[in-house]
Amino acid sequence: MTELRTLQAITRALSDAMEADPSVILLGEDIGAAGGPFGATRGLHARFGPERVRDTPIAEAALVGAAVGAALTGLRPVAEIMFMDFITLAMDALVNQAAKARFMFGGQRGVPMVLRTPHGGGLSAGPQHSQCLEAWLCHVPGLKVVCPATPADAYGLLRSAIADPDPVIVVEHKGLYAMKGELPDPPAPVPIGRARLARPGRDATILCYGAAVHWSLAAAEDLAREGIEAEVLDLRSLQPWDEAAVLESLSRTHRLVIAHEAVEAFGVGAEIAARMAEVGFDELDAPILRVGAPFTPVPFAPPLEAAWRPDAARIAAAVRRTLA
């Protein structure tokens, strides 16, 4: 076990993948000598050279489109979009090209590319640098979407994403970059599509991903002091997501709270709640509650942003409500 920060785990995953496979290249804005806006590619330019760690101009559409073409032509590109808010500029390449190629070309080949992008607030980065837009991508057949909450998952999911034969979006929470955690030695890939039991419990299930995992754990901690044992299930993969694990947990707790930082309405939690209102209906002893952000853009000023973002208190309150 090695202790390191999420950001270092990401760098390590990129480095290990590039070491293992010469077809892995990196593309992104200022990811080269500068090491990336958040430092995720630090040292890689020096180590692997400018042909494999490519600084791109500020041109997200072409950057992601080029990743598609490169992936169709024998490379495994890992593209970085600096803030998830900027995927708005690359949706065509993601949705109409990367996601569709395998199916639309009759299964000839897939598009083995990865897109890394940070989401989430907490830095007072304002309405255009804080959004959580993963629900969009989960709605697109052909894309996979993962969102790690720990350094080990940041490493493991990224390795799996790079090895995957289809396009995978790795959504990273920028507020977690500095968080420390253990990496197994040797570090291991984490399979896409499997949830992680972050804390067992019997009274209610809190389903969450990304930064919300940490709020959920804190909430569970608080609830435990009241005698409520909440189970925290870290989804990790959002598309595909681990329906079996959610059902299994629900079949024990019979109460479900879904928490994420994204706007609640039409968010990732909606699909999970909807699915559980179908296949898990008979297990439900209470309404499914969601804890997500209110329906406005992310505000800038710290007190507004703090009030806007979901947190442990809101999650704990929701758990209490499902038990009331």
């Binding site: 042909e51 101009p57 598609v68 073409g69 065509d92 395998r102």
Partner: protein, 317 residues
């Protein structure tokens, strides 16, 4: 250099295949909508003649000619456009998505200009992998209004990638004259990016092929991207069934005067070629097309229940 008879064969294949599609479409045997490149065959033929196995092509909504010139087989082609299970894309893509990755044909594309960054990425892969290959992005004159084309030019120029930007300038973007759509001349834009630009008569297959050969050789020498702009004519509507009310009949008639096939035929004969050879080629093309159409007709319709492959690779093991 491209061999005149080979170019002729490619052009006749495209012409005959698309005219057959026009009939099939009118008869209800082709679903959806199709955009024909009739009249523009010399561009696809000439450009693709300069390519070698392993090179990559990204195309447009008007991509039949590019696909066929790149070597996508007639049977898979017709079956695809006619929506059959034996189609090169199993009937899932249709006219706007014909693709054969095994010959480096990265797909026709329903999104204007979207092929350009894909070709850019292919060129990047060729460079990075050291394959010696090149990539071609076909695009229309109307596509110059799309930002991503400019992003692509910029990156190709900066990174000196082996990318051939092949513009089919047919004067139209759907129902609009492209001069009402695009202010800049491509020559000037290319020059601004430091990309060598060459204009060719897109009705002259030999001229296109010569320009393409020269450009591709430069690409292979690592000299950075090139632009070829082929002035060409759209003989038919934007899509089949387009009544073309917007079109001046004189302009439409003038377009027909630029027939790349008639021109190639005349040049071949003037150079002392034997008409019988041309006729043999034509007969072979027609026969192959007829056979492909018959095969497609006979092929089963795809059935959803039998479609095991979804949007993702099947899980391993």
């Amino acid at each position: 250099m491209a061999e005149p008879l080979a170019l002729y064969r490619t052009m006749v294949t495209i012409r005959e295949a698309e005219m057959a599609l026009a009939r099939l479409f009118a008869d209800g045997e082709v679903p959806g909508f199709i955009h024909l490149s009739v009249g523009q065959e010399a561009v696809a033929a000439g450009i693709c003649a300069a390519l070698a196995p392993g090179d990559s092509v990204a195309s447009t909504h008007r991509g039949h000619g590019h696909a066929l010139a790149r070597g996508l087989g007639l049977r898979g082609f017709f079956a695809e456009v006619m929506g059959k299970a034996s189609g090169v894309c199993r009937g899932r893509g249709g006219s706007m998505h014909v693709a054969d990755l095994s010959v480096g044909m990265l797909g026709a594309n329903g999104i204007v200009a979207a092929g350009a960054p894909i070709a850019l990425g292919a060129a990047l892969a060729h460079r990075t992998r050291g394959t010696g290959g090149v990539a071609v992005a076909f695009f229309g004159d109307g596509a110059l209004a799309e930002g991503v084309l400019h992003e692509t030019m910029n990156i190709a120029a900066l990174w000196r990638l082996p990318l051939l930007l092949a513009c089919e300038n047919n004067g139209w973007a759907e129902f609009s004259r492209s001069e009402t759509q695009v202010a800049a001349r491509l020559a000037a834009l290319a020059a601004a990016h430091g990309i060598p630009h060459r204009e060719v008569d897109g009705a002259d297959a030999l001229a296109v092929a010569e320009a393409a050969a020269e450009a591709v050789a430069a690409l292979r020498r690592g000299e950075g991207p090139r632009v070829i702009e082929a002035r060409t004519r759209r003989w038919r509507g934007h899509f089949e069934g387009d009544p073309q009310r917007y079109r001046d009949p004189a302009e439409a008639a003038e377009a027909l005067a630029h027939d790349p096939i008639a021109r190639a035929r005349a040049a071949f004969l003037a150079a002392g070629g034997d008409a019988a050879l041309l006729e043999a080629v034509e007969a072979e093309c027609r026969a192959a097309i007829a056979a492909a159409i018959e095969a497609a007709r006979a092929a089963p319709a795809p059935r959803w229940e039998e479609e095991r492959m979804g949007a993702y690779a099947p899980a391993e093991g």
